[in-house]
């Protein structure tokens, strides 16, 4: 029965058409999601990126049947999120931003609770518990109270729980938020491992641009719309330009010279607090550097050339860096937050 999706040949694990969500009314109307279209392929790891308040979480809530769309439609694992709510729920696993474990229970008790709620057949439960617990490396901690767990361990347990009922699609909403870099990396290792072990589609939201590198494809959402959708490599390649940063004796003169001589628009950016640098984008940055020394006419103290990062991708598609976008994010009503 859970095979029906694959057997009927439906390629999309998630299919979204014209999905909208608004909160409030009149002058207090907030358009959190402004009509998005998206297909997530079966078996891929799909990254959903954007600053806080971009509408990512509202979208994920609608896909998980936790919020009703104002307009449009969506199917998850072949089931309509409005008309077939329980069917959708049976076929998805969820890992939320905030922990939803009962810390007064042990790890195993939390998993058993989940298994009963989802109706996992009892004979299959024992082996499945071993499987998901060892996948996230918590088998030896299964009888410990969750309140003794670190943030990373709790997150891993939640991933194990989300997988317990063998969902077709695993949703993770900011699974690495609030974790240290090392733990973040280990969470992504477990997610990578997933595809080797389970036949599953992973839909993950994040606002850490570097994490999107782990995804097969990604969409960037900004102000309720999807502004870019492709593989991380293709998105970076589409920008084409490398980023060059130079430290000079006279930044203003350098910027003026870059504009006059090379027709390049450059800006001053801060480096380590007190020092500043001139930053600009240019195709073939490494070849450009020698010309720069010959023709700029302003003494250059240092040069760095970087390949476009996903931060640059975000900048290119939204006109802001993700940090600026977060700082400027409009206040989001509490029920729609993140």
């Amino acid at each position: 029965m859970s095979n029906s999706v694959r057997e009927s040949g439906t390629p999309a694990a998630i299919s979204i058409r014209g999905l909208t969500k608004t909160f409030g009314k009149g002058s207090h109307l907030v358009e959190a999601v402004r009509g998005i279209d998206l297909d997530v392929r079966t078996g891929e790891t799909f990254g959903f990126l954007g600053p806080n308040g971009a509408g990512k979480s509202t979208t994920i809530k609608m896909l998980c049947t936790l919020a009703d769309p104002t307009g449009g439609e969506a199917t998850v694992a072949g089931h309509d999120v409005i008309r077939e709510r329980d069917e959708v729920r049976r076929h998805i696993g969820l890992v939320f931003q905030e922990t939803t474990l009962d810390t007064y229970l042990t790890a195993e008790q939390n998993l058993r609770f989940h298994a009963e709620l989802y109706g996992v057949p009892r004979p299959e439960l024992g082996p499945r518990l071993d499987e998901v617990l060892s996948m996230v490396g918590l088998n030896d901690r299964r009888d410990d109270l969750v309140q003794t767990f670190s943030g990373g361990m709790k997150r891993r347990l939640e991933i194990a729980r989300g997988l317990l009922h063998s969902p077709r699609v695993l949703f993770l909403d900011e699974p690495t938020i609030g974790l240290d870099p090392q733990t973040r990396a280990s969470i992504w290792e477990y997610l990578g491992e997933l595809h080797r072990r389970e036949d599953i589609t992973v839909f993950v939201t994040t606002h850490y641009m570097d994490e999107a590198e782990h995804c097969d494809r990604m969409a960037i959402m900004d102000e309720g719309r999807i502004v870019a959708l492709d593989t991380p490599e293709a998105l970076k390649a589409a920008i084409g330009e490398d980023r060059v940063k130079i430290q000079t004796d006279d930044d203003d003169a350098a910027i003026k010279r870059l504009a006059d001589r090379f027709d390049i628009e450059a800006t001053t950016v801060g480096v380590d607090g007190n020092t500043s640098a001139v930053s600009f984008g240019v195709a073939g940055g490494e070849q450009f550097v020698p010309r720069l020394f010959d023709e700029l006419g302003v003494p250059i103290r240092s040069v760095t050339v970087t390949r476009p990062s996903l931060d640059d991708v975000f900048l290119a598609y939204t006109g802001r860096t993700i940090r600026d976008a977060e700082a400027a994010a409009r206040p989001v009503p509490p029920w729609a937050r993140r």
Binding site: E87, D102, E116, L117, Y118, G119, S166
Partner: protein, 286 residues
């Protein structure tokens, strides 16, 4: 990304049915018990108030109020206080739904493919069980106030306590299902249960009350939970007819003496009504 077809111990979920809903109810129920067992402090503090009522208030007032009758005031007070011991724990169990919401665990239940009724019924049964378990300590003290340890009485009391606990947990749930902050839930429930406690006949006999008080006690559903308990306990005592009339006059609707089974029926009907209300108010989509 290509998925390797390694043998995967994937589980297959059966189609949703009554059996699945019952499993969900059962696990929500068992969680309440596990949490109660882990929380010794809560189990102990829940007993402080009823013990104070029985032994401090009861002893203090007994010299004043026992004069007209042959029976110790504490003996009179006992069934009412046992009922009150259920009241606190049961209503707190209902409030724990708000706690679950604040700590995120409610979401784990809300996104599961089960009906909200299954979740709330489990929660109500859990609250009632925990409250009954706690009131057993009070029940064990009946000898201290000169009430014999009669097995039938004790069994009847446990059943009545469970029903009262179920009604009070359901009432508490119905009040808090839409509340998002724990601090807001507590005063609200307190505001309702305190008058209910005073107007239930737990603390004073229902005989010779002024008209307004008589009306309020008759309307109070808790009265229908306390009266049967008093009836069961007093059946163990050899009371004079006048003491019986003073201390346990029973409940009347107009001129009709309401029989004990009908009183219990009122509790059951109110419980079902409150549960239905709680389920209807329980917003599933956040």
């Amino acid at each position: 990304m290509s998925t390797t077809q390694a043998p995967v111990a994937a589980v297959r979920l059966p189609t949703t049915g009554l059996r699945h809903q019952l499993r969900a109810t059962s696990v929500v129920w068992r969680r309440e018990l596990v949490r109660f067992m882990r929380d010794r402090t809560r189990a102990l503090t829940g007993l402080v108030q009823p013990l104070l009522f029985l032994f401090v208030l009861g002893t203090g007032l007994s010299s004043l109020v026992s004069r007209g009758t042959d029976i110790d005031f504490r003996t009179f007070l006992y069934p009412g206080i046992v009922a009150i011991s259920v009241l606190f724990t049961a209503t707190f169990a209902g409030i724990s739904l708000v706690w679950d919401r604040e700590w995120g665990f409610l979401r784990e239940m809300m996104v599961a493919p089960v009906s909200r009724a299954s979740i709330l019924v489990g929660k109500a049964l859990g609250g009632a069980t925990v409250a009954t378990a706690q009131s057993m300590v009070m029940l064990a003290l009946c000898g201290v106030v000169d009430i014999p340890y009669d097995p039938v009485m004790l069994v009847e009391m446990v059943v009545l306590l469970f029903l009262a606990g179920l009604m009070l947990t359901a009432m508490s749930l119905a009040m808090v299902v839409r509340i998002r902050q724990f601090q807001a839930a507590f005063p609200l429930v307190q505001m309702v249960i305190t008058p209910m406690m005073f107007l239930s006949g737990a603390m004073f006999p229902l005989s010779g009350l002024p008209r307004w008080l008589d009306i309020l006690t008759t309307l109070n559903p808790l009265t229908y939970a306390v009266e049967p308990m008093r009836h069961v306990v007093f059946a163990q005592l050899s009371l004079s007819a006048s003491d019986q009339a003073t201390l346990d006059p029973g409940l009347t609707w107009g001129d009709w003496q309401v029989p004990v089974p009908v009183q219990v029926g009122v509790v059951v009907v109110v419980t079902i009504g409150l549960l239905a209300l709680a389920i209807a108010r329980f917003d599933r989509t956040e």
